[in-house]
Every structure is written in structure tokens, then in C-alpha cells.
Symmetry: C2
Subunit: 378 residues, 2 copies
């Protein structure tokens, strides 16, 4: 039995992508790689909805987060890190390595960040740089990027937005938001294998990067990336097979169409949410639900490990909670090229687990699946 | 016609490795990945000839170089960077981002580093950390790692050794050398695709890393790698398909046997050197020839670009020179799973290019190939 991967990255990889990866461009200095890289960047611009420069790093999303902070932030820069989950905390950790003036602005996990509160903090703190996670994968919450972007731009600060698990699956109009740096990971909504990340860089961000005389990271030095990009190269040897895979994944995104892809993601996430509710489960977020990952409170009577194991016995790989919500929630991702069938099988397995534990009555069998099917067929 | 890749990384990828990569481990938290990672590290220890900890980074060799320096070096640490090529220079650049007391010790490109001179510099400078490149890919020179290692250990300093293009193809007894950190790239002598690097860390190095309170890089924080390794995981999502490919590449290394693999590398490099000499070409290094990459002076009458293009027209991809030897040399790598036939085809093509340019007489046709064949058949 082929297991179904419903984790928030890595995600299911379609055969076309595996096939492309198995015939990688051989060499990274030359016209073949140049054409591939150029194509990738053009397709990324479509899903970032941006005119800004975009580069692809041979490293995970965290690598791109550090590239953003490490290039932009000077020791004395005031960095406001908005956080309502594990990845918001990660920005605080990274920023603290590059600035002595990091102000964490924390919100309850499971709630979206509060725009008014952020407005007040920006007013008071007068930050040079503001960081936020768009889609907080750890809690299944979608933060109000457009509203926060407007506040940051109004304060003439630089806005670094982690869109690692939203771009390619949800609507992320980077230029409209005013995100000076936006970041995506290959192995999330784009549906490629893990190992690459990409980031967009605005004119404003370039000004700060260029003016930043302090010691920037070396492997992630964005000025080197910019110089190499003039020849459609990367400063260091890129992970060639992953570039071929990313290229094919982006072609699939383009074939589906961004609009349809976003609708599909929203529908599948809603199917999971409503099916879960119908099965008497409670969603972890109180509102502002992510369109790519659903966090559900663990019901009494089953531990996180048991839930993961029981689901896996039924062929479905899901994840639990991280850090402060470890043991309290489980999460079902509907990212990338996940199909309606994948979701139905997942809900079916979840129903079965709940019934086997006495958490759902036997004569309720099918209610989750029917709910999901109804939403998917709408 | 399938082109033959004779570049110093990336290298030819055998079908078995592409096949393994196209069926990657799906998820990075779980027993399947744990077994893969554990196996990879065991096999790496064999070719590093070390008992030290080894970690695999999802990033190129440069990423591992920065990981080494960024974790070890404190702002006031005295860092002696021995350099006789482009990659020696890279250590100077990276070290200068982390220390205010970097002492470059430069030797002529094309010559090995001089042990006595290094001894004097260590005496005078009393470094905390010494960096060196074992196999200087930019010039085709092999540096005396054992001798330098003894000097560094005698001075109680930390020895960071870039073995990116030697481990897996040449004899690199990391523990005998006394390399506290040794680094390899996936896409060189190991014969895997680009995108991963690995480094070994000695007890002495760990002491310094642990005592280093300054701001270390985040993505490359080796303490995070160590903690995650206890669960056979990586701190951030690894480039899963590349791990599967690396695993298969290392299995091939083990099947060939390190001893045989080293002999094969030495033989193929010697075949290139002697064939080149027989065709009236001059080697760029004066001695201490690399066993994995051969640098040859461009003869008068052909430019670097012409040489590369003429070779490529004949199905062989080679590279020119970098930085200060750009336009002066061309390089033929014999790394990884390059075969005797690959070398013969390469020499044959080179002969043809030289004859077509009047740089070798028509009635000398075959001398290079015969020389190479004789050495390979020995």
C-alpha cells in the first residue's frame, strides 16, 4: 500500500516531478542551466505575484529566513518580530543572532496576530524591520498579511514575510502586501521535493542590503546571488536535480492555474475542517484558518503518538504538534498536489480511528467522509 | 550523443543513483529516514577514516565551510588561513566574516603549500585555528595534509581541512591527519548529485563550539545538528531525494572498496597527466599533482573559451581556470564514477582539438590515447 503523505512539507511528489528530477541538468555553468533557472524565476514571479528579483537557494526555508535577516539586519537595527507560533519564534531566534534590538511581539498560539496591537507596537517601537509568518504552520493560522504590510510600509520599515507554506497554494500578492522579502519553500504548496527555497527582494530591501556594511552570511550572501544571476548562475554549486524537480513542479502549477490552485487548496482545507467538526473534533485555531494546513485538538482518550500511529496503520501520514502545543493537537496538511481522494481517504481513516477509540459512535460512520465529499463536489 | 562530464563537480551520476533519487524517502521524521541517515554516516566514516561525529548538511561544500568557521571561530580568534588557490581564498573570505584576526598565508598558485613556511607562521602567529584546502581544485594541487596537520596539532590549534574534492577519491585519513573538522561535497569524488555536504567534528572542535558564546549561524548551527542527530534527524527539513542519492552513491563506493577507488582515481589522473605531457601540453602545477583533477596550461593558439567549446563539440564537458588563472589553464577532472573509457574519449577529443589547431602534428594522432591506455591497463 502506497502511504499518503498529509504532512505540512514534505508533500506528495507527482511522478512527473520525480521523472524530471531523475534527468537533471548536468552542469550549472552553461545555457541549459541558465534556461532552467530563468524559467523557474519567471514561474515563481507568477505565484509570488511580484515584479521583484527572485533567487533560489540550495537550502530549506530556514536557510532563506536566515538569508533575509542576515543580509538586511544590522547590529543596531530595531527588529519587530511578530509571533504566534513556532515559526514566528524562529524569526526571533534568527534576528537575535544579527541584531541587539529585537522586540518580540507575541500573540496567543491559535489566534491570528491582532492588527491594532501591531499598529501600536510599530508606533511605539519604530522598527527598521518587521518580520511575520503569513501561514503559521505550527497552529494552522493565517495571519493578515495585507493589513500588517500596510502598517509596515506606512512606517517606512522593511517587511520580511515568511510565506513558506502559503505561496503556491494560497493568495499571496507579494507586491500588494508590500513584502520587501517574501520566502517560499520548495516542498510545500509548490509540491516539489525539499531542499530548495526562494525569496523575493524589493528595491527598498536592496538599498538596505547594499548599505549593510556589517558581516553578512557568506553562503547566503544575496549580493553574490544577484551578481551570479546576471549570468543566470548561482554563486555556489546548486542542487541541480532539485532545480529540475522544482521546474517541473512549477510547470504543473502553471498548468493548473494559480487561481484554480488556490481554490482547490481552500476547498480541501475546508473539507478537512468541516469533516473534523462534524466528527465532534475541535479545531485548534479559533478563527483565521489556514488554507493549507488544519490543526485539530486531540480529543481526550488518544495521545498524539497513538493518533499518528493509528493513522499510519491506515496508510496516512500526519503530524502532531510542536513545542508548546506538542501532545495537544494533530495536523493534516492539504498542500501542493494533494488530491480530493487523498483527503477523503484521510477523513475515512480518521473516522475509523475515532470509532475504534469510542470517540465517535459506530452509527456515525461516514459522516466525516460525506461532509468532505459534499464540500469537494461543490 | 550523451555528453561526458569531466568537470570537478558536478560529476557523472550513475543510473543506479538517479534511480534511488527518484524513489526518495518521503518524510524526514521517522524510522525510514533514520535508517538512511545512520547508514550514510557509517559509510562516510569509512571514507573519512574517522571516529569523529559526522553530519550531512543540505547545502553545498561552501555551506559546510561556513558551518565549520561560523561555529568554531570567535571574533578574537587568531585564524591562519593557508591559501594556494581559489578555495584557500574562500576560507580567508569566510573567516574574515567571523574573526577580526585572520592571517592569510599565501603561496603561489600551482605550488603546494610549503611545510617549513607554515611551521614558521604557526610559531610566529600562534593561531587558534588553521584552515587549509587539501585538494586545491582551482590549480590541481594536492597539499601535504599530514605534515600540516602534525604542525597544527603540535601547536594545540584547531585544524579545519577542506577535503571537498579529495575524500572518496583520494586517501584522506582524517584522524591520522588530525583534522578537527574535515569537509566533503556530495558531487565530487563520492559521485552523488550536488546539494549536500558533510563534515566531521572532533572532540577538540566540540569543546570550542560549545564554549563559543558568540552568535553562530542559525541554519548551520552544529549544536542543533548534534541534538537532532540523537534522534537521527536533521534540525531543518533535509533535501530528501539527495539523501537517497548520496546513500546509493556511498554504497557504490563501498562496493568498489576505498582502496580500489583511490587507486582508480590515481591511475586515471596519471593517465590524463601523462597523455597531456605526451601531447606537448604543460601541466599547470609544478609538482604535488592532484589525484582527482588535472590543470593544464592552455597552449598558445587557443583561448579558454575555444578549448571548452571545441571539447564540447566533441561531447566532452571540461572547465577553464578561475580567478587569477582564468584564461590560462583548462582542467579535466577524473572524480567519482568516471570510467577509463570516459578518460580515453576525453584524451581522444583533446588530441583532435590540438591537431585541428595545428598544436599537434597529424602524424602524432593517437599518442595521447596510447599513453593513457598504457597507464590505465597497467
Amino acid at each position: 500500500m502506497e502511504e499518503i503523505l498529509m504532512t505540512p512539507g514534505p508533500v506528495k511528489i507527482l511522478p512527473r516531478i520525480l521523472e524530471a528530477m531523475s534527468k537533471p541538468v548536468k552542469y550549472h555553468r552553461g545555457s541549459e542551466f541558465a534556461a532552467l533557472y530563468s524559467d523557474i524565476v519567471e514561474m515563481l514571479k507568477e505565484i509570488f505575484q511580484t515584479e521583484n528579483d527572485i533567487f533560489v537557494l540550495s537550502g530549506s526555508g530556514t536557510c532563506a529566513m536566515e538569508a533575509a535577516i542576515g543580509n538586511i539586519v544590522r547590529t543596531d537595527d530595531r527588529v519587530l518580530c511578530i509571533s504566534n507560533g513556532k515559526f514566528g519564534e524562529r524569526f526571533i531566534e534568527i534576528a537575535s543572532k544579527y541584531s541587539n534590538a529585537v522586540m518580540p511581539l507575541r500573540f496567543e498560539w491559535g489566534l491570528p496576530v491582532a492588527v491594532n496591537h501591531v499598529a501600536g507596537a510599530i508606533d511605539y517601537f519604530e522598527p527598521d524591520v518587521v518580520t511575520m509568518v503569513h501561514n503559521e504552520t505550527s497552529t494552522g493560522v493565517l495571519n493578515p498579511a495585507v493589513d500588517i504590510g500596510a502598517l509596515v510600509k506606512n512606517a517606512n520599515a522593511i517587511f520580511v514575510l515568511d510565506c513558506i507554506t502559503s505561496i503556491g497554494g494560497d493568495d499571496v500578492p507579494v507586491d500588494n502586501i508590500g513584502a520587501d522579502i517574501a520566502i517560499v519553500g520548495s516542498q510545500k504548496c509548490i509540491g516539489a521535493p525539499p531542499g530548495l527555497s526562494a525569496l523575493s527582494i524589493s528595491e527598498e530591501a536592496w538599498k538596505r542590503i547594499t548599505a549593510n556594511e556589517r558581516r553578512k552570511p557568506y553562503y547566503m550572501d544575496l549580493i553574490s546571488y544577484k551578481k551570479s544571476f546576471e549570468k543566470l548562475q548561482t554563486p555556489y554549486t546548486p542542487a541541480l536535480p532539485l532545480f529540475s524537480a522544482l521546474h517541473e513542479a512549477l510547470r504543473i502549477v502553471r498548468e493548473e492555474g494559480l487561481h484554480h490552485r488556490i481554490l482547490r487548496h481552500r476547498t480541501l482545507a475546508r473539507a478537512v475542517r468541516e469533516a473534523a467538526s462534524r466528527m465532534n473534533l475541535q479545531l485548534f485555531p479559533k478563527r483565521a484558518y489556514s488554507n493549507t494546513v488544519t490543526a485539530i485538538n486531540l480529543p481526550h482518550g488518544i495521545t498524539e503518538d497513538e493518533m499518528k500511529k493509528e493513522m499510519r496503520r491506515r496508510g496516512i501520514i500526519i503530524v502532531g504538534g510542536q513545542d508548546k502545543v506538542k501532545g495537544k493537537i494533530f495536523r493534516i496538511a492539504t498542500m501542493g498536489n494533494v488530491s480530493a481522494d487523498d483527503v477523503i481517504y484521510t477523513i475515512n481513516a480518521l473516522e475509523d480511528v475515532l470509532i475504534s477509540r469510542g470517540l465517535l459512535h459506530e452509527n456515525e460512520r461516514g459522516v466525516g467522509v460525506k461532509t468532505a465529499e459534499r464540500i469537494i463536489e461543490l
